[in-house]
């Protein structure tokens, strides 16, 4: 995935510049985080990558295609800050939503959803309704749903920010396990420094609006990453460094 000099400004006098000269290149299978203060345009950038918004300058290529083409080819999986599940559907039916909309046969849908629920650790919860689940469990369902069309890239917009610290750490590890098993790339928006370091190959630090990439930090910590890593000196040093970059 290649973003070259992407900018977005809303017309007005003076024009409201949301993003400026953002260039990101991401290899297949990479885990990249976007971190920055709120309002810096992280989510906007994610929407541009997904083809929901058009940039006013620069170009975006996803595996050589435009974002719209990539979206049409179901190359993206979306996970939002809220799980946004349909309350009248069971967990299983929620995971089947997208496969149903693209017209996959029922038995194929069912077996895929079962497999994905197993993957996200929700075996036995197929027939629950969303309001019977905890916040962490609901976010697991939404991850399973995002994977249902076997996307090459997961676009995640602060998916764990509504969870408590314990759930967040648990889901961080779970996400890494899922990412390894599914061989997908992840573009992960967050404002949580520790989470970004723990998960990513590369952390992109954005400036306050108009959003620019001000620092690109490679996280060369060994994988698979376990909770013990969170207190290792290398981890803490990276964390401190990112904190300084973000504050200045």
């Amino acid at each position: 995935m290649e973003l070259a000099d992407v900018g977005l400004s809303y017309p007005g006098r003076p024009p409201l510049r949301a993003l400026e000269g953002v260039s990101i290149s991401m290899q297949q299978g990479q885990f990249v985080s976007l971190i920055g203060p709120s309002g810096c345009g992280k989510s906007t950038l994610l929407r541009i990558v997904a083809g929901i918004l058009d940039p006013t300058s620069g170009s975006v290529l996803v595996e050589g295609d435009s974002p719209i083409t990539a979206q049409r080819a179901h190359r993206f999986g979306f996970v939002f800050q809220d799980p946004v599940l349909l309350p009248w559907r069971t967990v299983q039916e929620n995971v089947e939503l997208l496969t149903e909309l693209v017209g996959l046969p029922a038995n194929e849908r069912r077996s895929r959803a079962k497999e994905l629920l197993e993957l996200v650790g929700l075996r036995g919860c197929e027939d629950f309704r969303p309001d019977q689940l905890s916040g962490g469990m609901r976010q697991r369902v939404s991850i399973a749903r995002a994977l249902a069309l076997e996307p090459a890239i997961l676009l995640m917009d602060e998916p764990f920010s509504a969870l408590d610290e314990f759930q967040r750490e648990l889901l961080n590890s779970e996400l890494l396990r899922i990412w390894v098993e599914r061989h997908c790339s992840v573009l992960f928006v967050t404002h949580h420094i520790e989470e970004a370091v723990f998960l990513s190959d590369t952390v992109m630090v954005m400036s306050p609006a108009p959003g620019r990439i001000i620092e690109r930090v490679e996280v060369n910590l060994p994988r698979p990453r376990t909770d013990a890593l969170r207190v290792s000196p290398e981890f803490l040093q990276l964390r401190r460094y990112l904190r300084e970059v973000l504050i200045h």
Binding site: F78, L86, W88, L97, L101, V102, G124, M137, L149
Partner: protein, 291 residues
């Protein structure tokens, strides 16, 4: 509670899931089942006791003060009048129910169709929604004479009136409900090129059901009240006619009996809507505020 020594594989699996996931969706349910049942019983019991107490006080006051039945009849007098005139009350309920039900069905049906049209065709909404608001702003008692002059004083006029009453609350609620979809959810539908029809059938329509039933609750009672009011203005049958007629004839016990019948019918209509909602929209019950 099951002993941990007799673990079946499935129970062990379940606990593995719980341990993995952090908390169990089943655990909290059983523990407060009893207190919930007690709460439900008391939520019925307390209003019932209050109503019985008021009726008893009313009865005692009427007897002690020696009030005449044509002035204020006692509850027991009303009950006996109700029993003696049951045939006539039942006969007069039929046209009222028929008008209210037909108007309710037509008004709500049109409101649902029109809201779907408005949500999808913004030109239609801009052109017609203000008109609907104007129609709503005309008081029913002012509209009724116009309807009688143009349409006569038959069944049609009364149905048109109750349909108009039923139309607006449901239209407003449905417009909100159909638009109340989460933008991210809509984005998911768009990401797989879902047609407008699929968005309507699988997202907008189910999202709007709690709003629809909010409208139906209002219009279920409003259409009954509307039918009765229209009968006041022009009719020779129906509960509205009975109310007016017994007033003119100073038959106050019968007046009260017909009022009781009307309010029972309104309650039944409301209860039916709530019952259907519980069956069709079980997911909205959790959002309901307990009394």
């Amino acid at each position: 509670m099951k002993s941990s020594f007799t673990d079946t594989p499935s129970a062990a699996d379940e606990r593995a899931v719980e341990a993995l996931v952090g908390d169990s969706p089943r655990g909290e349910r059983r523990s407060d089942l009893r207190t919930r049942a007690a709460k439900r019983a008391s939520s019925w019991l307390i209003p019932l006791v209050v109503v019985v107490a008021i009726l008893a006080l009313w009865q005692l006051l009427v007897v002690w003060l020696g009030l005449k039945p044509y002035f204020i009849p006692s509850p027991l007098k009303i009950a006996s009048t109700f029993k003696d005139n049951f045939r006539s009350i039942a006969d007069n309920s039929v046209p009222t129910i028929a008008q209210a039900a037909t108007g309710f069905a037509i008004g709500n049906g049109l409101a649902v169709l029109m809201s779907i049209w408005f949500v999808h065709v913004s030109a239609a909404r801009r052109a017609l929604y203000p008109l609907a608001i104007i129609l709503q702003s005309i008081p029913l008692v002012a509209l009724a004479p116009i309807a009688i002059v143009t349409l006569g004083s038959g069944f049609t006029t009364k149905v048109v009136m109750t349909a108009i009453i039923s139309f607006f609350p449901t239209l407003v609620n449905m417009m909100r409900g159909l638009a109340a979809v989460d933008p991210n959810m809509l984005q998911l539908f768009r990401s797989v090129n879902a047609s407008r029809w699929k968005v309507l059938a699988k997202l907008r329509w189910p999202t709007s059901l709690p709003y629809l039933f909010a409208g139906l609750r209002i219009t279920a009672s409003a259409s009954m009240v509307g039918a009765i009011i229209v009968e006041w203005i022009s009719s020779d049958t129906g509960l509205g006619y009975m109310i007016i007629n017994s007033t003119y004839q100073f038959d106050t016990p019968l007046l009260w009996a017909s009022i009781v019948a009307s309010s029972v019918l309104v309650l039944v209509a409301f209860g039916l809507v709530v019952l259907v909602e519980r069956l069709l929209v079980p997911w909205s019950r959790t959002a309901e505020v307990s009394p």
